[in-house]
């Protein structure tokens, strides 16, 4: 099974892991790590190395980070290849999708493609949702 690491600023990753497991139950090979103020480049890199070592079940890892260009994203980008793929800007729907689809794809890159497409499609607004079920005729302006 492809391992999943969520890697964010502050405690977002731990919160996302908790939220996802409220929905799909406890998950194996699933690790949450976060950077804090006062962490340096090397410390962040070591944190990720430890998580990778603890999450790899032999089929590679998808590291889901919170923000393109942020430290979790940049640090992970330096470790790509060797069965590691990175995704930036994940959401709860995309994380759940990743957890539920990771046994059905060949490798982390395929999982990342699938999950990023899904994440982009699954952000919506109240009006869009009402419109989708026929409750809003036109924009109220």
């Amino acid at each position: 099974m492809i391992g999943i690491i969520v890697f964010c600023h502050g405690t977002m990753a731990q919160g996302m892991k908790h939220a996802a497991e409220m929905i799909v139950g406890p998950q194996p090979d699933f690790t949450a790590i976060g950077i804090e103020p006062g962490h340096g480049r090397q410390q962040v890199s070591d944190l990720l190395d430890t998580a990778i070592a603890g999450t790899d079940a032999g089929s590679g890892i998808l590291v889901m980070t919170d923000l393109a260009g942020g430290t979790p994203c940049n640090t992970t980008a330096l470790k790509m290849g060797k069965g590691i793929e990175m995704l930036a800007g994940f959401s709860l729907p995309s994380l759940i999708k990743a957890l539920l689809s990771r046994s059905e794809v060949a490798d982390p890159r395929e999982l990342a493609d699938l999950v990023s497409r899904y994440g982009r499609q699954h952000m919506t607004t109240g009006t869009e949702m009402l419109r989708a079920c026929g409750r809003v005729e036109s924009d109220h302006d």
């Binding site: 600023h9 103020p37 006062g38 340096g40 962040v44 260009g69 940049n74």
Partner: protein, 164 residues
């Protein structure tokens, strides 16, 4: 020569805070990362190139080449990112002139003491900053917008960080 040069010390160099806030806020046209490790590691340079917004011109140079890089630039606003105080001192010795130094993120090590949650400094680093201050430079800690601390010298000649 560019008038508007911001020199920021940040061990994480280009990261979320810089990309999301400082680059748009300062209207940065050119970003120069001055770091020996990043300049000598093509993968690191690629990651920073990937992270920087498309409107910003990026170069990644060794610290000793920084002065020359800046002299050659015609950009209206330049943001320089440097890993730590000793590299900033080295940049200055190699000919870079600046009168304001901003500390964004300086990570904790056993030799450093906490100044703020994001900035930790060693005795040697504080001494370097005090020399810069005594020579007329301004030293500020500004990790986020809003909160800003300025290095001042108290009556005993000791460093004092005051809110402004």
């Amino acid at each position: 020569m560019t008038d508007n040069i911001h020199v920021r010390i940040d061990n994480r160099l280009l990261h979320g805070q810089v990309v999301q806030y400082w680059i748009p806020f300062l209207e940065v046209e050119r970003l120069v990362i001055a770091d020996d490790e990043a300049a000598n590691n093509p993968a690191m340079s690629t990651v920073y190139r990937m992270a920087v917004p498309g409107t910003v011109d990026l170069s990644v140079v060794p610290v000793n080449d920084l002065a020359q890089e800046i002299r050659a630039s015609k950009a209206s606003t330049i943001l320089i990112l440097i890993s730590d105080v000793s590299d900033a001192v080295r940049a200055q010795k190699s000919g870079l002139s600046f009168d304001r130094l901003v500390l964004g993120n300086v990570h904790a090590t056993p030799a450093r003491t906490r100044i703020t949650d994001s900035v930790y400094l060693s005795r040697e680093e504080i001494d370097s900053l005090m020399r810069f201050r005594l020579n007329g430079g301004r030293v500020e800690i500004q990790t986020f917008p809003g909160e800003r601390l300025q290095l001042e010298i108290d009556d005993n000649g000791d460093p004092k960080w005051s809110r402004r």
